[in-house]
Symmetry: C2
Subunit: 268 residues, 2 copies
DNA sequence: CGTAACATTGATCGGGTTCAATCTGCGTGG
DNA sequence: CCACGCAGATTGAACCCGATCAATGTTACG
């Protein structure tokens, strides 16, 4: 059982200088040749959302560290959470006790939608790194939405976005073989970082092989084997002292690798 | 390419007597011993939502028949749709052209959330039976939500509900073996009908084996084999002249069957 | 009656799981 | 400091579930 992180309340009009920055991934050896370009659209959209929230609502800011829970399944739903920084995973444990990673969240994403329907959260939200969570009461949010239609639109867009993302995951899992799923996962992870303006020349996966496998409907051994194969093919490179941190020199080559396998399977 | 269904506009205050009733499943041979009890909560919630909509918004009613599209991927998003009756499937075709069934929808469900984020629908919504769709303009809905907080809550709850449902599907696909997935599917289908007050003593699957398989991440042959096995074990019974219509005499026995398999797998 | 879409069933194959052994890094306590 | 334990990761070998390939059956419909 983790202990709750300290809660820090700041005035709603606090300057929008970023919260606690996430820990540096690790030392970068050479240049930033493999840096994936950031998506200015997404970044702007996120910044605007955060700004709107602070202007219109009372936001409780809370610093979390790796392992902290933002909320827990079964807990009464009263608030939604918007991520200012950090990396988070959503864990859902089914009736029979089997745990499942059902989502990954980043800066700008919302947490807690699952609680609206039934008045209780239905999954755990766990920080995977230092980060800052902005919490708003749902009732206050509803009121604010009524007065600020643009806030309502932003919120709906966030929900819609989350649905589409989940759908993509489902399609990947239903249609792709193991190695393509792992590659899709790496892509998603890197894109998520890139679109938030984080560096992707080297990325820390932060999830164990077991968690990645769980998320992708694979076993940890399969994930490990695929990663080893990709490393052997020089499509990814492990950090030499930590197999959780990888470098993707050429995303295009990664895609090509998968396409080639699909083509090879399709031609006969 | 299907042709669009005729559009029928009715005054917003039209009486709430049900629209065109769905075609009778098929003749029921004996009694209703296997009838699954309806969920009065869900039914009430749906009725209330529908009432609220007509009271507060201009609703365009449209009768659809099997095969009609409510909307199509790529089409500009302007409206959301609420299902008054009928059965619908959501089809998403990925970039590489592979089609995927990404959801099933029933009376009371909303269609079109996927369009909010990007301003375009990202999947096809296809009627699987005669039904009635209520369409509301999204901009009008936003305005109405601002004035009627209860409408906003209902809409958010619908989105939240959809997310949780998708999550359940994901968990099923990630963690269950083939036969358990098929059983889970049957359960979901029957529960969906039951909670809408439809009869479940005999149910028409309406999807081909290929579509069921696609939805569950299985091949059509596997689905067929599992259904045959369940029929052999007398856990389901096919209608004697149509293998798409089945009868589930005892849901509890179905569950037990799956539990037993899991237990057998787990003990060694 | 002929054709096409859907479904069933069998035989075979293979990708991914399962089981098992080993390795690595890391924190802990003697 | 080192020994120890432990969680995570890797790798190999055998197996098995579900996919694939193929043939046949069934229903619907012009």
């Amino acid at each position: 059982m983790q202990t709750a992180a300290p809660i820090v309340t700041t005035p709603a009009i606090a300057p929008l200088t970023r919260g606690i920055p996430a820990r540096r991934e690790f030392a970068v050896p050479s240049g930033e040749g493999a840096q994936r370009r950031a998506d200015p659209d997404t970044a702007a959209r996120i910044a605007e959302t955060m700004k709107l929230l602070v202007e219109v609502l009372e936001v409780k800011r809370r610093v979390v560290r790796a392992g902290d829970l933002v909320y827990r399944a079964g807990e009464a739903f009263t608030s939604l959470h918007i991520l200012n920084s950090g990396l988070f995973k959503l864990l859902s444990s089914s009736a029979e006790g089997r745990e499942q990673v059902v989502g990954l969240r980043f800066r700008g994403d919302w947490l807690g939608f699952c609680g609206i329907a039934k008045g209780r959260y239905t999954c755990d939200a766990v920080a995977m790194d230092t980060g800052e969570v902005w919490t708003v009461r749902y009732d206050a949010l509803l009121r604010a939405c009524a007065e600020h239609p643009e806030l309502m639109e932003v919120m709906h867009a966030a929900m819609s976005h989350e649905m589409m993302r989940d759908r993509d995951v489902l399609i990947s899992i239903c249609t792709l073989p193991a190695d393509a799923r792992v590659v899709a996962f790496l892509h998603y992870w890197a894109d998520s970082l890139a679109s938030r303006g984080l560096r992707t020349d080297q990325i820390s996966l932060r999830l164990t092989r077991a968690e990645i496998g769980n998320y992708l409907g694979l076993t940890l051994e399969t994930v490990s084997r695929v990663l080893s194969k990709l490393a052997r093919a020089q499509l990814i490179a492990f950090n030499e002292r930590n197999r959780r941190d990888i470098c993707i020199p050429d995303f295009h080559a990664l895609d090509a690798f998968i396409q080639r396998r699909e083509a090879a399977a399709g031609l006969h």
